[in-house]
Structure formats: C-alpha cells, structure tokens
Symmetry: D2
Subunit: 118 residues, 4 copies
C-alpha cells in the first residue's frame, strides 16, 4: 500500500474494492479520509527521530470530486516540520485508465510523541 | 447502526470490531472520520426535501482522546440549515462500561443536491 | 474588550465601528476571525501555568450569518486541555437590539509555550 | 493592495504597520486571516460571472511561523471552481529584506451568490 516514501513525502495507493465503495459505486469518504490521514502521518514520521511516534492532532478535508476508478492515491507532504508539531498537505487522487481526478485536498497537524502526554 | 434520528440530530453507534482498530487496539482514525462524517450527513438530510441528496463539501476533525472500549458513538447536529448549504457540529465518543470519553470533535459543511452541479 | 473571564471560558465584546465593516455595512470577516481567535487563545490561557504563553496552531471558522448590529461577541471555550495542546470551540454572535444572531462557529488548536520551540 | 491578479490567482501585499502588529512586533493573526481570506475570495471571483458576488463559507488556517518584516503577502489560488462552490488554497508569506518566510497555509470554501439564499 505504501507506494512511495521520501523524506517528507509519502504516497499511498489503494486498489478499488467493492467494500470500500458507497451506494453510487464511488470510494467512500471515510476510506478517503483514512488514506489521506495515513499518508500525512507517514510523511511526518519520515522526518522524526526513530524512537518517536506520531499522532494526528487534527485534519481538514475538502472533497472536490467523486473518487472512482481502478485505484486511489493519497499524497502526504510535510509543509512545516518542528520538534513538537508537523503540518502536512494532503491530496487524494483517483485514477481510471489514463485519467486522474483530484478527489480531495486537505491539511493536517501532527504531534510527535516521545513518552510525553498530549 | 443508526441509533437515534431526530430533526437535525443523528446518533450513529458502532460496536468495536478488531478490523476497525489500529496497532494499539484503539478504533482507527479513519473509522472515526467515517462515522463522524456519516452522522453529520444524515443529520443534514433530516431537514431537506425528500427528493434531494446530500454531499459533504468539507469537514474538519480534532482528535482529542484515543477511542477504545465496547462501542463508539458519533453525533451529528445541524448548527445552520439553508437551502443550499448546511453546517453541522460533530462529536465522537467511545464507551467502556460506564465510562464515556470524547474521542473527537468536528465541523462539517454539506451541500444539498437537486440535480444541480456542485 | 474582555467581557467575561472564567476558567476555560472567555467572552470578548467589540462595539460596531465603521472601520471594521465591509462594503455592505457588516462586520468584516477578518475582524470576526481576529476576535474569535483571541477569545479561544485567552480561554486556553486561563488553564495554563502563569509563566507560559499560548500560540494559535490552527483554527477553522464557518461563517453562518452576516454580522451586523451594535456589537459582536466572541466566545472561546476549552474542549480539551492538555500539557502541550489545548482545543477550543469558538462562537461569534452579533447583537442588534434584543436580537442575537450566530455569525460564525469555529474550532481552534493552541500550543502552550514554555521557552520551547514550536 | 492587490499586487497581482490572474484568472484563479490573486496576490495581496500589505506593508507593515504598527497598528497591525501584536505585543511581540509580529503581524497580528487576525490581520493575516483577513488578507488570506481576501486573497482567496478575489481569486474565486476572477472565475465567476460579472453579476455575481462571492461569500466565504469557511476557511482554515495553520499558522506556521511568526510574520514579521517589511510587508506580508497573501496568495489565493483556486483549486476547484464550480457553478456554486469554489475551493481555494491560501498562503501567507512575510518578507524581511531578501528573506521570505511562510507564515500560514490555509484552505477556503467560497459560494457564488446570484440573488440566491445561502
């Protein structure tokens, strides 16, 4: 599922599955949120010390177009990394043959945990 | 899964299932997003004409506490209904025996569709 | 301008001034954002140690109704306080005589600073 | 104040003024919100019919770095335009001599009004 991992950038790809679709045959918004959140979380994690873990503080997603097709890809990119907080941009795209459509765009705040209370 | 439906307010309850949990045994953030988004969408729908449908324009979620226990409940409540747009508040709570914990709080914008382009 | 201060709750009141209004005579969205952000920031501050300061990490505002009238009030209320992060709910209301209208609703994340890098 | 206007992209520049700064001499968050919101609103407006007007439905801003220096610039860029709704990305940058710093990043939803209730 991890399609690409660079420092500060992670791409997750998820093939279409009937159980992830809603009544109209599109990918369900909950599934899109899940992979958008995960891509951002992993992107933040690439910039953190190895013994740390990362938690989502908050995220916001604008749904732009219905996500349908063969698979859906989510990109998380670190915009600002810090010792405590990391801010990511999120993008979700769906692919049908050659055609790509942007399904969602988002912003996310992560916190780096090192045995410290949130 | 629809636990309570009133005009402008919907509660969704979801029992704990191993496949909805992440590595630490908590409900996965993606699953929480999905039921938060759904509760708001249904809440908005209770105030709309019957021949219409509702789409999520955007939502934002702050994750407050880990969600664990027997089940998780999401509340969607309409704050402002309009002919085109509806704004909802979202709350996600988890229950372990008698103890309730607020897992997330959110805000959501919906659009009412009547065969009209978004 | 601070109208009410309790532990975890602050109300800010701002009288109408021509220079805060936009072309239609309503309070300008920028001004509403400013007092919403401030009310949340002060609310978070009421729960923190005295030698600390508070910074806004992010906030999100839904504009519900035009804000007009004699004054505008913003309420910041702490939903979840922590050692590092605080989450607040924001409400903005405008008053014209006896009539109150909710102008905006929001959510905000704050970080407590004690000589530590963000 | 409008520094650059293209189809779907607007840049607003605001010189530093003491009355726009807060206690530490930085640009005040309320002022940053105001120009971020305005840049997005104008960017959306460039793609709409002439007899229409544009209202902010909601926006979300992550504050990344303190904004200080000679002036501050806000960029609004349309990500998805539609007949009813428009989604913009917002960026706020401050400049001190040759050095640019990103002060904020945001997302915004606009609605196009043509004598229609929101």
């Amino acid at each position: 599922m991890l399609h690409q991992v660079r420092r500060g950038l992670v791409v997750i790809r998820m093939p279409f599955q009937p159980e992830l679709s809603q009544q109209h045959g599109y990918f369900h918004a909950g599934g899109l949120s899940a992979i958008a959140d995960s891509a951002g979380g992993y992107a933040g994690f690439t910039l953190l010390p190895e013994d740390s873990s990362v938690l989502t503080v908050e995220f916001k997603l604008n749904l732009l177009n219905p996500a349908q097709g063969d698979f859906v890809e989510s990109i998380g990119r670190v915009v600002k990394g810090g010792r405590t907080l990391t801010v990511c941009q999120l993008g979700v795209f769906s692919s049908k043959g050659e055609r790509w459509v942007q399904a969602a765009i988002g912003q996310q705040t992560l916190i780096c945990m090192q045995n410290r209370e949130r």
